[in-house]
Symmetry: C2
Subunit: 206 residues, 2 copies
Amino acid sequence: MKTFETLDEAKKKRIMDAAIHEFAEHPYEQASTNQIVKEARIGKGMLFHYFDTKQALYEYLVDRALHVMEELSAQYIDGSEPDFIERMKGSAKLKMDVYRLHPDLFHFIGQVVLEKESKIPKALAARLEKMQQDGLTSLFSGIDTSKFRDDVPAEEVMKLISWSIEGYGKELLVKLDGQTFVELEMDSYIEEFYTFLSVLRRIYYK
Amino acid sequence: MKTFETLDEAKKKRIMDAAIHEFAEHPYEQASTNQIVKEARIGKGMLFHYFDTKQALYEYLVDRALHVMEELSAQYIDGSEPDFIERMKGSAKLKMDVYRLHPDLFHFIGQVVLEKESKIPKALAARLEKMQQDGLTSLFSGIDTSKFRDDVPAEEVMKLISWSIEGYGKELLVKLDGQTFVELEMDSYIEEFYTFLSVLRRIYYK
DNA sequence: TTACTAGTTGACCACATCGGTCGAAGTATG
DNA sequence: CATACTTCGACCGATGTGGTCAACTAGTAA
């Protein structure tokens, strides 16, 4: 790990991308260091020179992934915004940007969470749990529920809205699958998303 | 395969359950026949006596799975029902019962669909595709859209409703996770589900 | 030129697991 | 006792694993 940090950025990125990609697609035991060095176009020796063991590489990646998510979450999600849909908008944009900039990050973190017996030290596990916890509370607490229609419980309104946005996002991902994003196109998708949110507002707000 | 059909039901079920479970959790190449015989509590020799190869076992399982799904789909989904939510109700009940009676069936079929280069012969692949196609059309075509509220396009109303039901179902699964189902409890969940549907009706119908 | 260093490689190691085989032991029937 | 049918799991060659290490390269200093 000592020498890894001093590598030129391009090679560092190649290695981390390859490793995150591999760990995103397979659980820890099935993820192959052979596959990682092949995709990163480095010799096997180098990987074990930078990281003494597969486990050390894994923990390094989890740490970096959590770091990125922590930074972005703070940046995108405003816990003081009382309007539910407005807050969901931030969360949706967060997801979109993560998908664009770090396509494998969500899958990677997902795999870490799914791991049967946690492969990570307590300190990392705690950060991971905190992130999950914060993700929920920062979305659903401190919301001004008086704006919602009265004939459905506020709790249920929030669930229905988030399920709808989730479904919309999933459909969008399928539509975008494989497409290379030009910024201009992206803007039109965001436009469409905002109209979708206004529909939800019409349906679920007074 | 000749002798397999003549086994006593209990052993047959043990083997099929074990095999479907294994193929549901891993893609074809990673699924282990060793694991299957262990879980089914039979010797390895027997498995390769009933099915000559892993591939033959796999194809047999896909055929049986499709058979079950085809039967149940016909039984639960009424393509002539013009009310959208009513039709979704049938589909939701189908899913619930499959989860109860054949817990690994959905995952198994999902894995078959995900397989990069299809491991199944054309005849099976065609049945699989037909099932997926029918699943979509039988849910969304021939619906009486005049009942929907006018300020949102009918297409979008149907998506919103199905996303909401999907979210509800997923939450229910988490709640039920690990719980052993007593029929009585089950009824109360169905009751709750019907109230949920009536909420959706209030929201999305005129 | 020579000597030393730092970076890099992939053949190689012991081990595990894979799909599949097969000789032998067990059981039932005659 | 003999014959036939089940059943088992040790075993096979092939493949893949995380990790090592002798050897090669390129640059620098004397």
